[in-house]
Amino acid sequence: MELTLCHLYPELMNLYGDRGNVIALSRRCQWRGIRITIEPRTLGDEVDLSSYDIIFIGGGQDREQRLICSDFRFKKGASLKEAIESGCVVLAICGGYQLLGRAYITLEKEEIQGIGALDLVTYAGDRRMIGNVVIESRVDGLTGTIVGFENHSGRTYLGDGLSPLGKVLRGYGNNGEDGTEGVSYRNTFGTYLHGSLLPKNPTFTDHLIRLALLRKYGETEITPLDDALEQAAHREAIRIAGEVS
């Protein structure tokens, strides 16, 4: 079996160790004998994103985010929207997550269009939400805790038809108000959590791999791995998040 992962704008959108997510996905495939190819795609590349099994996009600083904004909207946006609708596995962190939505409203009330794949809107805030996060997910196949670290001033609100990735147990989440964190839509996941996210949440990583294999091969079983160390780090992260708040 083999999977192809598209890493969008790896040079520009890698703010909080985001490449750790790609490392986690590729290692956990390799350890199971699943061949995985990573293809970086950046500014200007014309690309049919639905042909990929997994698409990853991280967060960027303001300047980088502005640089990719028009490329994302006018070059890759339509293709990514199509990929999301066709059940492609997509993971978007922080800035990448915001860009999947309808718009980002700056403090000056300027409206920056997203690709509009998901019915969510982000408002710039003047307060940064920073710290350890624990959420509880009820997404099918992904129930349980997810841990990470957040650092964002944008406040994201989901439209009525959308489910969050999870409920906030510790931290701020989407907006620090409604107790939701992230988004889950078809096989697409958006979240503010980095840390990096996937290495300490092996269940989440495996869920993404399983969804990708299911879409490509109709295969649902994957070989279990020894996760003692990852699980210990996960439990430790929950303990630390509990201590700090």
């Binding site: 160790g17 490449r19 750790g20 490392i23 986690a24 500014l43 600083q61 303001d62 300490k200 990852e230």
Partner: protein
């Protein structure tokens, strides 16, 4: 009345400094803040007294660079005052100058070398008539505390624009963001850098941040990288390029933990501080010293005799084993330490890594994923003990870097981890310890208590 307030501020502040020191609390903020409250002009008056003030700023290497600079100037016969690394904000700088002044309110030193936080540079330059502003580099560093890189860059840029034509900006030619600060300045610019194409790599390391032209925003083309985004670059769109350095290190031989040899304009240099990043620190200090009138030979002589700043790196001996401890506080620093230790031929098979997530370390440990620990995977690593408050994060990072699980042991408590690592290191061999900032402080406390080293 002005005189009276000046002396009131000076004495209150001096008494506070003395009091805080006696009660063991140190603290460099309060005395300066109080002094400024009593007499807002105090920093301006004190800073006008030395013959020259040199300001050192940038993300990495401020402390090492300013310490080397102070040393060069002293060895050329000048009297120098130099603030400590913890005092690089406005009130801290004020505290330092108060403590440098005598009871008559005079600073008799020839030169003041001031390490200043990037964001504080424009505010300090409003009051301090700097002869030289030295900028080392710009890296992403502990984002959760300082906000974004552009903020630091624009602050330093704003500061430099305040310099008059008799001041000089000493800039790193190999860092495109630092180099672009030189454009349009009324102050003269002096560039330093590395001119040795043998050290250029074709590939950029993952921790690199900056890839776009400061002039037009187009992606920069690199002939090669020295490390991270430092290298030989040019912009295809607006034809701006790496400035030719006035002072460059040539014929560079990196000898791992042994140090580095190099030459500047035909004068041979040697330093015991290892790694390219320390060569940049030395060249930055040399650039500023030469700008202030030192000769290249005198500067190289002082650099050669320089050991290390504040135990950022230290060697000790514990129960018949050698211990080499080097601070590893952010991706760039960590990558530099790793590439110094694991260069061809050199090796560090007995390893301890300690990661804390206290405020001084950065609360967010995501940066561990930006460090190229993959270099450890194919090396002859005997063991790695991971420790600190974020020991498990580090252990997972190493596992995903390809270090076999059998070689990783997790021991969050620092003394226990150190004891275990020492016991596992054969007699006569070297244990390498790489801690984050507060892990280093904690570990040093333990080592001092055990009598293996002295308190700073």
């Amino acid at each position: 009345m002005k005189r009276l307030l000046f002396f009131a501020a000076l004495y209150i502040s001096k008494i506070l400094i003395r009091f805080l020191r006696l009660t063991g609390r140190g603290g460099s903020t309060l005395p300066g803040r109080v002094a400024r409250r009593v007499y807002p002009g105090i920093l301006r008056e004190l800073a006008a007294q030395p013959r020259a003030v040199a300001i050192v700023t940038g993300t990495n290497g401020k402390t090492t660079t300013s310490t080397i600079l102070a040393r060069i100037l002293r060895e050329t016969g000048q009297s120098v005052v130099h603030n400590s690394s913890g005092a690089n904000l406005l009130s801290g700088v004020t505290t330092s100058l108060v403590s440098f002044s005598n009871l008559r309110g005079e600073i008799t030193a020839d030169v003041a070398v001031l390490e200043v936080d990037e964001a504080t540079v424009p505010i300090v330059l409003d009051e301090v008539p700097a002869k030289v502003v030295l900028v080392t580099n710009f890296f992403r560093d502990q984002l959760d505390r300082y906000g974004e890189l552009e903020y630091s860059v624009s602050a330093v840029k704003r500061g430099l624009s305040k310099l008059g034509p008799d001041a000089k900006a000493v800039l790193n030619a190999d860092d495109p963001i630092v180099a672009s600060l030189g454009e349009g300045l009324s102050a003269e610019t002096v560039y330093y850098g590395i001119d040795d194409p043998r050290l250029l790599h074709k590939n950029r390391s993952h921790a690199s941040d900056v890839k776009h032209c400061g002039g037009c925003g187009a992606p920069l083309e690199y002939d090669g990288y020295f490390y991270a985004h430092l290298g030989w670059y040019r912009c295809e769109r607006c034809a701006s390029r790496r400035p030719w350095p006035h002072l460059a290190a040539e014929n560079v031989e990196l000898r791992g933990g042994e140090g580095t040899t190099f030459s500047v304009k035909g004068h041979g240099g040697r330093m015991t501080l290892p790694g390219l990043y320390n060569l940049y620190n030395a060249m930055a200090a040399l650039g500023a010293a030469v700008t202030l009138g030192a000769s290249i030979d005198a500067a190289l002589g002082a650099i050669e005799s320089f050991e290390s700043a504040f135990g950022r790196m230290e060697r000790l001996s514990v129960q018949g084993r050698k211990v080499f401890m080097a601070l590893a506080k952010n991706p760039t620093g960590f990558n530099q330490v790793l590439s110094t230790l694991f260069r061809d031929g050199t090796n560090a098979p007995y390893l301890m890594i300690a990661i804390n997530d206290r405020i001084a370390d950065g609360k967010d440990v995501s940066w561990l994923w930006d460090v190229d620990f993959e270099v450890l995977a194919d090396k002859q690593l005997e063991f790695v003990v991971v420790s600190g408050l974020r020991a498990y994060d580090m252990a997972v990072r190493l596992k995903y870097a390809g270090v076999s699980a059998g070689k990783i042991s997790v021991e969050p408590g620092l003394p226990a981890a150190f004891t275990k690592a020492i016991a596992s290191t054969p007699q006569g061999e070297t244990l390498t310890v790489l801690p984050t900032y507060t892990a280093m402080l904690e570990l040093r406390q333990y080592l001092v208590r055990k009598g293996y080293t002295k308190a700073w």
